[in-house]
């Protein structure tokens, strides 16, 4: 998903707010969902993103695309929300769920549901910083430099985070899904 530059250099005050919501609402909520793992929380976060965008519209200089600007607001809200949620969850009693092996799940549910549950669990096991680079790299298909700009850290930090997050995901996902773990040494790059 390449960065959209169409709306760059245009102050938000001239934008139709409804158009902004329609253009970016779904994309923002999907990012929020991947970051926080809950559709209802994602809806609230995106709503608040638009409200804050409206309040700060006069300060938007149009240096970045509308989506990048909105994503910046959303990311701050998400990270703050996740910090609060983490503090609250420490006080909750953890109720252990019955052990269910990967093979049991595959037999009882469809593979798609199984993959979704496992992937969601794997994503939520990552820290918010690592989850965000996975979202930006593999969902938004951004380059390292673009992720660095979006997150405000150096290229080296982004590479390190992607490297760590990918290793963590590979370990967390069960072997049945981990098709890439069995990769051979064949040349697939046309070399």
């Amino acid at each position: 998903m390449a960065e959209e530059k169409a709306d760059s250099r245009r102050p938000l005050g001239q934008l139709d707010f409804q158009q902004l919501v329609e253009s970016h609402g779904d994309r923002l909520i999907r990012s929020a969902f991947l970051l926080c793992g809950d559709a209802s929380e994602a809806q609230d976060l995106v709503q608040e993103t638009f409200v804050q965008a409206l309040k700060g519209a006069s300060r938007f200089r149009g240096d970045s695309s509308d989506y990048t600007w909105l994503y910046g607001i959303l990311r701050n809200l998400c990270f703050r929300h996740l910090r609060i949620r983490k503090r609250l969850s420490i006080r909750e009693e953890v109720v252990p769920e019955p052990e269910e092996t990967a093979s049991d799940l595959i037999q009882s549910e469809s593979d798609v549901k199984f993959c979704s549950a496992r992937l969601s669990e794997a994503l939520q096991s990552l820290s918010p910083d690592h989850r965000e680079v996975i979202l930006l790299r593999y969902y938004e298909n951004l380059r390292i430099e673009e992720i660095a700009l979006r997150t405000g850290v150096s290229n080296g930090t982004v590479k390190s985070r992607v490297h760590y997050a990918v290793r963590a995901l590979r370990q967390f996902l069960p072997t049945e899904m981990n098709v890439f773990a069995t990769a051979g040494t064949n040349n697939t790059t046309g070399l």
């Binding site: 779904d26 006069s58 697939t188």
Partner: protein, 175 residues
């Protein structure tokens, strides 16, 4: 190029954002290093697996824009409109529902206690009398007060000295 160098440049190699010279060195290294070829293939396969999986994960997630339907115009000044404030307040309220419920409970409790204090009969206060001994109407306007008084009672050649304790009204307003 060493394996460490290739690993450092792996993502930029996939992004095709390496300069010509570094890219040529990476390609040369891949020809001779099976470990780095395997690493590259793993990364490509991981991306091929993860990108569609993430898209499937969010495929059913859509933003409900209805709560924002009142906010259709960007403000021309920095002063938020009433609708914005209301929308922001409603969203905050929804997000902090627990806190709002707690505050409401505290207010209700406070009002309840005030009502009980105002209307409940107080045991240690004597019931106000509508009619005094002198026939004048009066109303009690203050708490009771205990008072000690001496009395002398003469009976023939004997005088009896006594003390009585009174529970008296400290202040009364006569009409």
């Amino acid at each position: 190029m060493t394996c460490q160098d290739f690993n450092d440049n792996l993502y930029r190699y996939l992004d095709e954002s390496l300069d010509e010279q570094t890219r040529a060195a990476a390609v040369e290294h891949l020809r001779s290093c099976s470990d780095c070829r395997a690493e590259l293939k793993q990364e490509e396969q991981f991306a091929a697996f993860l990108t569609p999986a993430l898209k499937r994960e969010v495929a059913g997630v859509f933003f409900d824009a209805r709560p924002l339907s009142g906010l259709t115009t960007a403000p021309q000044s920095g002063i938020p409109s009433l609708a914005e404030l209301l929308a922001g307040w409603l969203i905050s309220l929804r997000r902090h529902a627990g806190l709002a419920a707690l505050a409401s409970a505290a207010v209700i409790l406070l009002l309840g206690l005030t009502a009980v204090q105002r209307f409940a009969p107080q045991a240690d206060r004597p019931a106000p009398e509508a009619q005094g001994s002198s026939g004048q109407e009066f109303s009690v306007i203050n708490a009771p007060l205990e008072r000690e008084s001496h009395f002398f009672e003469r009976s023939g050649n004997t005088v009896r000295d006594g003390v009585t304790w009174h529970r008296a009204v400290a202040h009364a307003r006569f009409h």
